[in-house]
Structure formats: C-alpha cells, structure tokens
C-alpha cells in the first residue's frame, strides 16, 4: 500500500514528533553469549555452531562473563544505574532462525537502567534519557530464496545460518523523546552516531551498521501541536546506516502526517525501511501484541555484580567521545563548525592520530577534511577505510613544512600513496616530486623562460611588475610544478633588474 505523503514542513506545522530508539549492538567478544563458539563475521554458514547454540536436546547455556562486563561498561558510559541483582529471562516465540524457539534475554530486571546520553545538534545539547540497557543473544540469520523481494512472503524456501545465533547482543532502549520538533531526524542520527562512538571508545563492538553489528529500530509517533497525548507509534526496522536513521524518521513523519491530516488512524505496527526509496512499508502488525510469556531463565543463575567491581569498571572507563571532542577542540584551537564537520565525517580519531604522529592540528584537519574527504566521497568509502594512514599524512605535512614539497606536490604524493605506490617518501622518490631548490638548476630554467618570453620580460623591465606572474607560471610549467614559486619570483625580478 502506498500512502500519499505530506511535506515534512507541513507535517511539522501541524504535529509534534515523539521519538524512541532501540539499538542493538553485537558485542565483539571472542566467543558467543552462552557457549564457546567463535564469533567471526563472514565465516562459512553453520561452521561456528555447537550443541548449545543449535539448541540440541540436553544442551545448556553458560553466560559469557566478558559480555556481562561489556554491558555494565556500556551502562556506566550511558550514566545508568547498574542492577545489584538481576536475571536473564526467556522470551518465547517460534521462529526457524531461533534454535530454542525462545531467546535468552532480560525482561523486568535489566542489567542497567535509568541513564542518559547528551548529544549535540545544531549547537544545542539534547539529553536523551535511557530506559534500559540489557543483554541478550542474537538469532540465526534466515535467507529467503526464490521470490522477487528476498522477503519471506513469496519465497520458495528459506535457509538458515546459525553462526550468528547466540552472539551477545546488547539492547539499548531510550525513553520516549518528545520536544525534538523539527530537529527530530537530526537528533535521531546524532544519538546513534554518539552511541556508536561510545561503543568504539569502549572497545566493546566494531559497530558496523552495514554488517549488522549495530542495528537500530526507530519509533516515531506524532501528536497534534498543543496536545500532550502521544499518538500511536510505529517501529521501523532495517535501518542500516546513520543516514537511514535520519531518513526513516523523516519519512515516517511525512507518512504519518498525511494519514493524520486526512483524519486517518496510525496502525501500531512494525515497518521496514527501504534504502533505495527512503520510505517505509508495513511489516507485521503489533495490534494483537505477541505474548512472549517471559519468565526467569531457570538454566542460568542470577547476575549479582559486586559493587566494588562495578566501581572499578567505572573508574577505568575511557574518556568518552563527547568529553574528548571538547578537550581536543580546546587543544587544537578549532572552531565549533570545524569540529562538527569533522565529527560528522568521522574524522576526529584520524586527525587525532595524525596530530599524535607529529602534524599540526590545522594541517591534519585540512588534509583529512579536504583532499581525503573529497577522495572518500568520490570512491564512496569511509575516511578510515582509505588506504592511507595518519602517519602518512603527518609525514606529508612535515615535508611541506620543511619546504621539500609545496601543496600541489603534496597532493600528488597523497595520490601516489592512495594508489598504493608506497609511503610518502617512496612516492616522492619514484615520482621525482622534490621542489627544485637547487639555485643553479632554477636559474637555468628561468633563463630559458625569459628567453622564450621576451615580451613579458620586457613588460616587467618597463615596470609592469604584474606581468611577472606569467613568467613565474612559465617556470612552474617548465619545472613541472617542482619549483618553489616564491623563490622563482625573486630570482626573475633580480635577473630583470627590477625591484618591487
């Protein structure tokens, strides 16, 4: 079913959005949540399985202590209270990719609860309240074969890979987020971005949205302006990139706005986001809520983290990304705008590493946000995925500072490194990219240029100093960019007997 949409602005003129975000993070533990199986991404199907994660009769779960530790660290980073005593619970429902037909999760006793995360959007700080952070296991992965959509409906048959079954999954649920108004899509994106950076700084997950190690469900509802009664919400799944988070919120606001404006009713349901169209389509209806028959998992003992240990974990938390950004901004003396742009481009860690390798902050920023960002954009890769390291950038800035390279040559060196021609120094050697600062060589080139451009030389001699630009250009051309333009200018004027 397609629905006419309302323009975003029009929808927001009449309605206020309320957001809610449920984020699943696959922990990067070496073994699964309840058994010793490996967790390598992309292993051949059904090669990382055992009696427990296949739910063979008689098998039992044993909780992964590292996963519990990681969850507590996440909770602490999100300013949560940590449960003194809590249990796993079984969430019962039948699905072929869930081997036990129940998921070991947590229900009314989450490991972490009542926290918050501050995010910055448009220069404002928005506090996102965290309802809970709990630990559970991932399901296997179904692939639906035949049929046009890759969805279960219309498929001829399905195959299941249980490698993912039992990988530890942390679910982070926000409280409803009212008051974001027109910033709702940006707030949603900023929240997931910040969350992702926290996970990275904690080292608990590789948080790759495209590989599904960070997955986000976006809840949106609208209420008429002036109302305080929240509307019916939808839950949009399959949101696999930061950009999609933003687009999914926007799309749902537009879709729901149109329905409500027509006097229609929002159906409480799961919706699927489509990357190609940027829209959502209806999934499973939640009107008749599934009864998961939660009960405490009798195969596992309660978790009772020692408060002293939790305090130790808290004390040992790394500097959180937002704090670090503020510190770096002060150290680097960069503007809010520059920092925000670097943050959005995922460049801060790269710039930091480049500075650590010896480059001035302004230069590091300039290269990553200029030449390299352009290159990343052209090739559709993330900055961090470019085949160049912060150490390379630092070396290039060093060569420029020493006068061995100018900006133009430096760009050529970077291109060489990106093409896999080696380190900056190797590229300089192979391509012969050193500035000509041998006075004799430069002098000879100038003589040739003056001889070939007698008219221009005469103009300069006659006092039209502006004409020297053409001569300098000739020198640069003749030296194939390797000459030091400023030095060439001085020498040309000397040779022509003109002083400025």
């Amino acid at each position: 079913m397609t629905t006419t949409k309302m323009s975003y602005d029009e929808a927001l003129d009449r309605f206020e959005p309320v957001l809610g975000l449920e984020t699943h993070v696959e922990l990067g533990t070496a073994s699964k949540m309840f058994c010793g199986c490996r967790t390598m991404f992309g292993a051949p199907p059904n090669t990382q399985v055992c009696p427990t994660c296949l739910a063979l009769p008689g098998s039992l779960p044993v909780a992964n202590a590292k996963a519990i530790e990681s969850t507590i660290r996440i909770g602490l980073a999100l300013n949560c209270s940590i449960a003194e005593w809590c249990r796993f619970a079984r969430k019962n429902y039948f699905y072929p990719d869930m081997p036990k037909n129940y998921q070991i999760s947590q229900y009314d006793e989450p490991l972490c609860f009542d926290g918050y995360l501050d995010v910055e959007v448009g220069g404002e700080t928005v506090r996102i309240e965290i309802e809970r952070v709990h630990l559970e296991e991932d399901t296997g992965k179904s692939t639906h074969m035949g049929g046009a959509t890759g969805r279960i409906h219309g498929a001829d048959y399905s195959i299941v890979d249980y490698n993912r079954a039992g990988i530890p999954l942390v679910e982070i649920v926000t409280k409803p987020i009212p008051g974001t108004d027109r910033m709702a899509p940006e707030v949603a994106r900023a929240y997931v971005t910040e969350l992702r950076e926290i996970m990275r700084s904690l080292g608990v997950s590789d948080v790759r949205m495209e590989e599904g190690s960070l997955r986000c469900d976006v809840n949106v509802s609208l209420m008429p302006r002036g109302s305080s009664e929240w509307g019916t919400r939808t839950e949009t799944k399959n949101v696999n990139s930061l950009r999609s988070v933003e687009r999914a919120v926007r799309s749902e606001i537009e879709r729901q706005g149109a329905i409500l404006a027509d006097g229609g009713r929002i159906v409480q349901e799961t919706r699927h986001f489509h990357e190609d169209t940027g829209t959502t389509t209806s999934g499973r209806s939640k009107e008749e809520a599934q009864d998961y028959r939660y009960f405490p998992e009798p195969d596992l003992v309660p978790i009772a983290p020692d408060p002293a240990w939790v305090a130790e974990l808290k004390a040992a938390l790394p500097e959180l990304p937002s704090v670090k950004r503020k510190r770096l901004q002060a150290e680097w003396g960069l503007s809010d705008l520059d920092m925000q742009a670097m943050h959005n481009a995922d460049a801060i860690d790269l710039v930091e590493a480049t500075v650590a390798a010896g480059a001035p902050a302004a230069d590091a920023r300039k290269w990553w946000m200029g030449e390299l960002a352009r290159r990343a954009n052209e090739t559709g890769t993330a900055l961090a995925e470019l085949p160049i390291t912060p150490a390379h950038i630092a070396r290039v800035t060093e060569l420029v500072a020493s006068g061995a390279l100018n900006d133009k040559l430096a760009r050529e060196v970077l291109e060489g490194v990106l093409n896999g021609e080696g380190t900056p120094d190797e590229v300089v050697d192979k391509r012969g990219l050193k500035i000509v600062n041998d006075e004799g060589e430069l002098s000879a080139i100038i003589d040739e240029v003056l001889a070939a451009n007698a008219d221009a030389a005469d103009k300069v001699r006659s006092g039209k100093i502006a004409a020297v630009g053409a001569l300098v250009g000739g020198v640069m051309k003749a030296s194939r960019g390797k000459a030091d333009a400023a030095r060439a200018r001085v020498l040309i004027l000397e040779k022509l007997g003109v002083s400025e």
Binding site: P57, G58, P99, N101, R293
Partner: protein, 496 residues
C-alpha cells in the same frame, strides 16, 4: 551366585582383581536382558556390539594399568533422557525417534571415564512426564514384582532394569519424584541428590529448575558409589553447585543413626494412604528409634500446596523447554512437502510427535505463563515454593532428617490411572516438596504391603548438600531390615 546377582561394589572389586573381565560381566547382563526383556520392556535401545566394545575398551584400560574408580567394568543402564554419543536418545518420544546425539551428557561422560559400561537406554514416561512409564511412546515397562503393575515413573525403565537384575545400576532423573517413586514401587534404592549436585548438561530438559539426575541400585552402598562417580561441579551447567560432593559413600558404609534427630512429617499420612504402606512406614520409624535415633513429629503445613505449585512450575518450564522440538534441525519432520510454511511444518510435527500428557503439560504451562495470568499462576507458585523451602529450613533446625512414605500406595495396575491425570499426579505427593526446595531425598525399601505383597519405600529427606545424611539413615534401615529378613527384599520377588 551368578554375576547378575552381585552388587555393583562386588563386581567392581572382581573386575579390579582380574577375577572376571568387564566383557564377561557385560555379557552376563546382556544375556539377562535378552531373557527377560520381552516380559519387562525396560529398555528402548540395547546394542550388544556397542556395549561389548565399551567393555573391551575398559578391560584394555585396566590391563594397561590405568587407575579407574571402584565401578570400573560394572555395567549400567541409562535413562534414555541422557545423551549418549554412541546410542540413540529419544526421551521416549516419537519426536526424537532415532536421534543420535553428537555429544555425551556430563553424567554419561563421567561414568564412561570411570569405566562403567553402558548396557542400553531405558524406558521412561515421554520427556519424563508421568509416574508410571505408561506415557512412553514405545509401550509401558512392567514391574518385575507383578507384570501387570507399573514400575513407577518417569524413570520406570531404570527401576525395572535394576529390580529385574538386567543391570546392577542405572541412572534416572527426578523432577517430582521420578527416581524415588519408581525405586519405592520396585523395591530398590533410588536417590534424588541435592539440586545442582549432579549435572544436567546433556539431560533433555523437562523442568530445568527441578530436574535432578540420580542413581538407582539394589542397595544403599551401590547407589552411593554411583552417586559419587557422576556428581560434582560441572562448568557446563550454570546451576551446578560448586561445592565438594557430600561424602555419601562413607555415610553409606557408616549406616549409623544413634543420636540422630529424625522428624516424621505429620502431613504425609492418613486419608488416601494405603494401610499396608503406613504399617511398613510406622515400623521403619520404630526401627530407627530402636537404633538410637530420636524421633519427633514435625508439621509442614504448606507441603499440601506443593502438588499444585509443582503442576504450575513444571509445565511452565516444560512449555518453553520443549519449544525446540520444531522439526528444523533434528528429529521428526511432518508435512514438509514443499507446499507448507515452516510454521505449518512445526505445528504438524509437534501434533504428531508429542503424546497426550506432553501436550497437556505444554498447554498448561503456556497458559500459566500467559500475560495476565503469570502472577496468578506461575508467580504464585514460585511464592509457594519459597514458603515450602522455608518450612524445610525451619524443620531442619529441629531435626537432621525428615521421613515419610515415599509414595501413598504401592505399584498400581497398568491402565488404572492412565485416564485420570489427577490420580496419577497423587503418586508424587510426598516426593514433590523436596524437588521444590532443591533438597536431597532417598527412597529405601522398608518391606512389603500386606494387602498386595508389593514393595513399600521409606523416604528420607535432608537439607541441601545433606545427601550424606540420606545415605547414612538409609544404610542403617537397610542393614537392620536385611538382618531381620535374612537378605535383601528383592529375594522375595517372584522369578521372571
């Protein structure tokens, strides 16, 4: 005396001394199985070659000087709910017909390592749900004392195999009495260890918070030897107790009750109890007093609520535990003709693969866990469980052990209660409280009821990790009664 009549301790000693080989001991029992199995139907799987292969390997290990435990070379029958990598494991259900597990349960693995030889897998009520073994998808097992009577359940194949001299030892699981009740009605010893004292890894789950593996034997010492051989902390079972195994063998050898305080549970007796059962029980209590124990009556009023609480908790857990039998990865698959969805295949398979009692309990449990009913049923039952555990605790402040009849009646006729679940459930009236509290409890023969000449069991209950007390009292009773009877009770059983 033939090999099959020897105790496990004797057989272990003979094998260790080289007087007999593990192969000879296994062959004698396999022959006995072949002889009486058509009458008893205690086994679901017997594989002579696999068994003899194991026996040869044990003989080889002993010849090479490997030091094995006191039961090396002794044969054992496993309830067909423990996984075995070299024999099928079905839980007596159609849904697992022919399933061959790729791994051993901790109990079976430890006993293999200790040199015990597996004779086969014994019959049970499907998924251990029942008190008569009539709920097996593969036909009922018969009581060696009277082939028209039930051998108890759910571990009825294991109790019958030991009582019929098909095996000197067997394993069972006790969720609401499934070891003690079969032991009582077949005149043998059966022990439910402290919950968590024996590993559930590889035990096909019925009710996870209650299931407890335990031993069957024809005498108290053999049961203790087996108990010790498979018990102890298992990192693969999170609910396994990380504590030393109580010194049960020493207690079984000691068998002395002088100065021990024994409490008679007031609530277990009276209406609904067979007079012959009560007569033997009262004699056993008098006997204990004569042996120097101090006997007092103890009231545990909440024990009468144990049965209803159990029939909410166990089905709730089972409704979830049995969800994995969905035709996707193993076992029966029905209706997979290319036209049906996975969900339809799951439903058809479960409809065809589970028996009526299993379905009844899955439905009871599904209902009890439903939103809106959880607090009134499952939640309430858990509260009752806590109250019962506290009552036990209070009782154990006054006494060292509690005693009661193991079952209200002796073995009942096959078919008598098959259509009356409530009557069937009453068979576990006295055994269930110990499961809810996680305590240790044993059943030891205390004579034959006058009415029917069938065995009566005395239940001895002890606190968590007080397993040794059960063995100590049981051994004292056994010693005194056997000297009175001039031998074990089983010699009164008719020849098969």
């Amino acid at each position: 005396m033939s090999l099959i009549q020897k105790t496990a301790a004797e057989l272990g000693a003979m094998v260790a001394a080289g007087e007999v080989s593990a192969v000879e001991v296994a062959e004698a029992h396999l022959d006995r199985i072949a002889e009486v199995e058509p009458k008893v139907n205690a086994f679901l799987h017997v594989d002579r070659e696999v068994t003899l292969g194991q026996a040869r390997a044990v003989d080889e290990r002993l010849r090479s000087g490997e030091r094995l435990g006191p039961l090396a070379g002794v044969p054992i029958a496993h309830k067909d709910i423990f996984t075995t990598h070299d024999m099928p494991t079905t839980a007596a259900s159609r849904i697992l017909e022919g399933w061959r597990p790729p791994y051993d349960a901790t109990v079976t693995r430890r006993l293999r390592e200790a040199g015990l030889v597996i004779l086969g897998k014994t019959n049970l009520d499907e998924f251990a749900m029942g008190s008569s073994t009539e709920n097996s998808a593969y036909g009922p097992t018969r009581n060696p004392w009277d082939l028209n009577k039930i051998p108890g359940g759910s571990s009825g194949g294991s109790s019958a195999a030991v009582a019929a001299y098909q095996a000197p030892l067997s394993t069972g699981t006790d969720t609401g009495g499934s070891i003690r009740q079969p032991a009582a009605v077949t005149g043998i010893v059966g022990m439910k260890p402290t919950y968590g004292g024996s590993s559930r890894y590889g035990l096909i789950a019925f009710a996870s918070s209650l299931d407890t593996p335990g031993p069957f034997a024809r005498n108290v010492l053999d049961a203790a030897l087996l108990h010790e051989a498979f018990s102890g902390h298992d990192p693969l079972d999170s609910t396994s107790v990380d504590a030393p195994v109580p010194s049960v063998v020493e207690a079984a050898r000691q068998g002395d009750v002088a100065g021990l305080r024994i409490g008679v549970v007031k609530e277990f007796g009276g209406d609904g109890y067979q007079p012959g059962v009560l007569a033997r029980f009262n004699e056993a209590v008098a006997l204990l007093e004569s042996l120097g124990a101090k006997v007092v009556e103890v009231s545990c009023p909440s024990f009468v609520t144990a049965l209803p609480a159990y029939y909410l908790i166990a089905p709730s857990e089972c409704s979830s535990n049995l969800a994995r039998f969905d035709a996707m990865r193993y076992g029966l698959r029905v209706g997979d003709d290319g036209t049906r969805s996975a969900e339809e295949v799951m439903a058809l398979t479960r409809a065809a693969g589970f028996g009526p009692e299993v379905k009844r309990r899955i439905m009871l449990g599904t209902y009890a866990l439903s939103s809106g009913y959880y607090d009134a049923y499952y939640g309430q039952a858990q509260k009752v469980r806590t109250v019962i555990a506290r009552e036990f605790e209070a009782a154990y402040h006054q006494v060292d052990v509690l005693v009661s009849p193991t079952t209200p009646t002796t073995a009942f006729p096959i078919g008598e209660r098959a259509d009356d679940p409530m009557a069937m459930y009453l068979a576990d009236l006295c055994t269930i409280p110990s499961n809810l509290a996680g305590n240790a409890a044993i059943s030891v023969p205390c004579g034959l009821a006058d009415e029917d000449g069938l065995p009566v069991g005395l239940q001895i209950m002890a606190p968590v990790l007080g397993d040794d007390r059960c063995y100590r009292v049981a051994a004292a009773v056994e010693k005194a009664l056997e000297s009175r009877w001039g031998g074990p009770l089983l010699k009164e059983a008719p020849a098969l």
